[in-house]
């Protein structure tokens, strides 16, 4: 169910757009901040609140990268696989990350701490290769640097 706080935030967005569907991406983002992902049931709740059909809303949700329709780990590791990072050694880095985390792209670690996904160019091409973890950008990445970063997240868990 949508909490009152969520409803209030979504209403503000609807008001800003002057149109309920116009606020649907913000509505999903608002709900996802709280739930971490959007289940079928919650998709229906949001759709009803916006006066859209669940199928229509899911059509929107499934189009975008940062809307999760399956449970994800506590931290999202987004790996830039675009051309500058590729030139600067993305493939070797990915091999290392896959080994270190024990998951491939799209996978979630058994402890539920990390989900690793591909992402398009992060706009840090002069400091490639780059990844983002949640809202933080990491650049000039090496396998050693990645290990240190991951260790910090593990310690913080």
């Amino acid at each position: 169910m949508l909490t009152d706080d969520m409803k209030k935030k979504i209403e503000e967005e609807c008001h800003r757009c002057g149109n309920r569907q116009g606020a649907c991406i913000e509505a999903i983002q608002t709900a996802q901040t709280f739930w971490g992902w959007i289940s079928d049931e919650n998709m229906e709740h949001i759709a009803r609140f916006l006066g859209m059909s669940p199928a229509e809303l899911d059509g929107v949700a499934s189009f975008y990268n940062h809307i999760y329709r399956k449970p994800v780990g506590k931290h999202i590791v987004m790996v830039c696989d675009s051309v500058s990072c590729w030139v600067m050694g993305y493939e070797k880095l990915l091999d290392h990350m896959t080994q270190r985390l024990g998951i491939g792209l799209g996978g979630t670690t058994a402890d539920g701490l990390f989900t690793m996904v591909p992402i398009q160019c992060l706009g840090a091409c002069d400091k490639a290769p780059a990844i983002m973890i949640d809202e933080k950008l990491y650049t000039d990445l090496t396998p050693e640097k990645f290990d240190r970063i991951i260790e910090k997240y593990r310690e913080g868990a």
């Binding site: 991406i25 059509g59 675009s82 590729w86 160019c121 706009g123 933080k136």
Partner: protein, 422 residues
Amino acid sequence: MEKPLTANFRPGEPLSLKEYEKLGGYQALRTALKMGPDEIIQLISQSNLRGRGGAGFPTGTKWSAVPSPKDLPGTRYFIADADEMEPGTFKDRLLMEGDPHQFLEGVIIGSYAIHAEEAFIFLRWEYTLAQSRLKSAISEAYSRGYLGNDIMGTGVNVRVHLHVSAGRYICGEGTALVNSLEGKRAVPHSKVPRQTDCGLWGRPTLMNNVETLCNVPHIINNGPEWFKNLSNSKDGGTKIYAVSGKVKRPGAWELPMGTTIREILEENAGGMRDGLKFRGVMPGGASTDFLVEQHLDVKMDYDSVQKAGSRLGTGTMIVLDDQTCPVGMVHNLEHFFARESCGWCTPCREGLPWVASILKAMEEGHGQPDDLDVLRFHTKHLGPGRTYCALAPGAMEPLQSALVYFREDFERHITEKRCPWR
């Protein structure tokens, strides 16, 4: 050499509103509000400012295409496209992080010039630092009266909304972006009617790139002649050029428009890393044709790069060195475009994965003798005019040029049945 766009850049936090004002910030907005919309548009047209998002359309012409309130009364929208996602491109991020008020001032002046009271900044999700800096800049501008109702007692209203996208490359395409703002799948549609007549929620809508808008306050402050004189070519102004790949000093620099590729690569990026040789460069992001050694003295302006057979695009170069596989690089690009296709037009939806799979097979040693013909066939049939938007034609640009300049590399993959670089 003047560098207006990056003059206020400094390490750490960008200028606060007060600091920006002390350096002449928002003076252009004051002037613009006295000039009125028609005069602003005239000034921008005279300056030869061309869109910095990739297409290079003259900004003044674009602004004057929005119908006047006399001809078409009612709501109109202004959109700043801050959805920078072209692989290899990071100039708008630097501009938003480095001087958010400069960008915002451009947004406000642009909105006023087309009589728009509502402006949207469409920002990509991943630009989290730019997001927080823009949020504070917007809130400062509201409290100082540069945004909101009755701006500085002139009766002009401009409200700015920051939309953080849920992320997808295609959102950078104008009509797709509008669909996304309306809460739909970001699928591009026909360019007719034009967005300046019928855009967001069916209303006249103007869209400009971040770098384009950052130029606007400086043109108002210093005039079109000053702006034209910044440039080494007939397109006005400076340009944020950038280089990534295996050069000594990858980075971004504000230089006169029309600086040569050689100067950018050698003097600014420091040349190739030791032991590596230059083989080619995509001059303006992932959807531009490769240029090679013979093009190093080409000026990086719209017409010169086009004459050389590519596009200035975003002006952010990706360098290919002699120890990186060109086929692998093109495979990476086509894999990207195949994934980012919105799936609406058949040639793009079906053609790009096919192209990517052929290149993948080549890389894995399964290339077939007729593969090059099949790839060439695709470069024609995914080219301009067969899809609603420029994604597929853009995807074909690096491929078609690679087939010309790196033909031997493709052939070696097929005859040797392996990637010679692996």
